[in-house]
Amino acid sequence: MLKTNLSILAVVIGCLGVFTWVANAIPQIQSDVPEDLVLSDDVTPEELIAAGEELYNGGGGCTACHGLGERAPNLLTDHAGTGLIGERCANRVAGEDCKQYLHTSMVDPNAYLVEGFAPIMLDASRTLSSVQIWALVAYLQSLGGEVTVSGADFADDGGAAAAGGVVASAPAAPVLGPTGPLDPEELLTRHTCATCHAVTGQSPLGPSYEGMGSRLTADEIRTSILDPTASAAEGFEAMLGIMPPIFGNIPAAELEAIVQFIASQR
């Protein structure tokens, strides 16, 4: 009986061992938590600037437009002779000081459109937390100007300034149901897809939709929209990570219309 028990044990352990080994032999991918900024109320300007700079060049995705090229005003250099962004921000709109102007430009991008540019920017609060936006404001102010952002700013609109710091995350309120008619081309504009992808001809930033339907199936297109880092189009590998992963918030019917439209571009 002992022998039987031992061989049963061996079979059970052997099975578990094989399963565990197989699961460990494949590439290990952990789903990390999106980065949140945690800043205390008495944050110093230097800390804010450093955090803002990191966001600007990294996860914020700002450089996709405000970097090279002429899709958007370059925020790192002089723009049309009006000085660096830290200088010119105070003079842009009468009655708005630098801090207010920059903040409004981010959460309501089309409020003050810089001359010569199309209204293509996304509302930054869809992807960034209030703390992150204020850190970006501080960083932009630091480029040629004086930083006036302080912990009080995000304590105000962050609401819950708990003891020790405020944790803010991107609000993710799902939109329910289609919010308009399902005209794919209109949807592409409304959801700002057209900002980076052209329907025909040369695209501004990402791959063009022209002929995309013959390269990708609808499934792959949907995956690429919802999880933009899943794969890169040929020749666009370097751009991986620029497309923000926020389009899951598009109502399903509209998303489907967009997917089917792209899939029909052969």
Partner: protein, 267 residues
């Protein structure tokens, strides 16, 4: 046991396993091209997975009938206990552990190949670099030689530098097909390709030449690149000259920094 080896379950099992291995290792790779279907060598992990399945299948087959199972076990049993089989037994007792030891060694021994990773070919450049002790701000930096001296002269000088230093890998046609190219994985870039220098500013190209593979950020897996860092061998002027040669020779326009009215940055 007087049956022929291919009539005996043990022999049949061995034949099936060997045939399956040949099929997975070479058959899938070499047969489809005969019919005009593209194929390629099968990765070792997949061969292992397939072979595991086949071996399980063979074990099921030999043991699903009592009679076959006994037949299958008989020669194994004989080798293990029969005094006349001592030589074979000893040989097996030596070779099998050795084989396992060798396979273990083969798995764990260090190799020159890098771990698989999703590689970013054109990573984001740093805002500034340190070039021979001087700080160079890359943002907004243009090729200074485009505005000073004779462009033709820079081009000729660039050609000389290219042929001396770059051609062995990147090729005389700038197509990444140099003499040494096939020795590298990933292969040297082709500058003719519309996906390479045409997408980049000259300052980016300068950075890549100056810092080479070792200067790549993590996401571009610097350990994979064979590109040397040229900053100790070439002067800043020489790097700018060879950059001019690259663009002039391929006919590409470098991507420019913000300029009023400039046409799209992808040529």
């Amino acid at each position: 046991m007087n049956t022929k080896p291919w009539k005996h379950p043990l022999g049949q099992a061995a034949i099936v396993v060997v045939l399956a291995y040949v099929l997975f290792e070479w058959g899938i790779w070499l047969l489809p091209p005969l019919f005009g279907v593209a194929s390629a060598p099968v990765p070792a992990t997949v061969v292992l997975q397939y072979m595991g399945t086949v071996v399980v299948g063979v074990l099921i087959w030999v043991s699903d009938s009592e009679e076959r199972w006994k037949q299958f076990k008989a020669p194994i049993h004989r080798v293990m206990v029969d005094p006349r089989q001592k030589v074979l037994r000893t040989a097996l007792m030596v070779t099998i552990p050795l084989l396992v030891a060798f396979m273990t060694f083969d798995r764990v021994r260090p190799t020159v190949s890098a771990p698989a990773a999703l590689r970013s070919v054109h990573p984001a450049p740093p805002g500034q670099i340190d070039f021979r002790g001087e700080t160079m701000v890359l943002n907004g930096l243009e090729n200074p030689l485009r505005h000073e001296g004779d462009l033709e002269e820079h081009y000729e000088e660039g050609k000389r530098i290219y042929v001396q230093n770059c051609m062995p890998c990147h090729g005389d046609a700038l197509d990444g097909q140099g003499h040494f190219a096939s020795a590298f994985n990933p292969a040297p870039l082709s500058f003719q390709d519309p996906g390479t220098i045409v997408q980049l500013t000259e300052s980016f190209v300068f950075w890549r030449i100056a810092k080479g593979g070792p200067g790549l950020p993590r996401e571009a897996t610097p350990w994979d690149s064979a590109m040397p860092a040229w900053e100790d061998l070439l002067t800043a002027e020489e790097i700018w000259q060879v950059t001019i040669y690259l663009y002039e020779q391929t006919g590409w326009e470098p991507r420019t920094w913000e300029e009023e009215g400039a046409e799209g940055e992808e040529h």
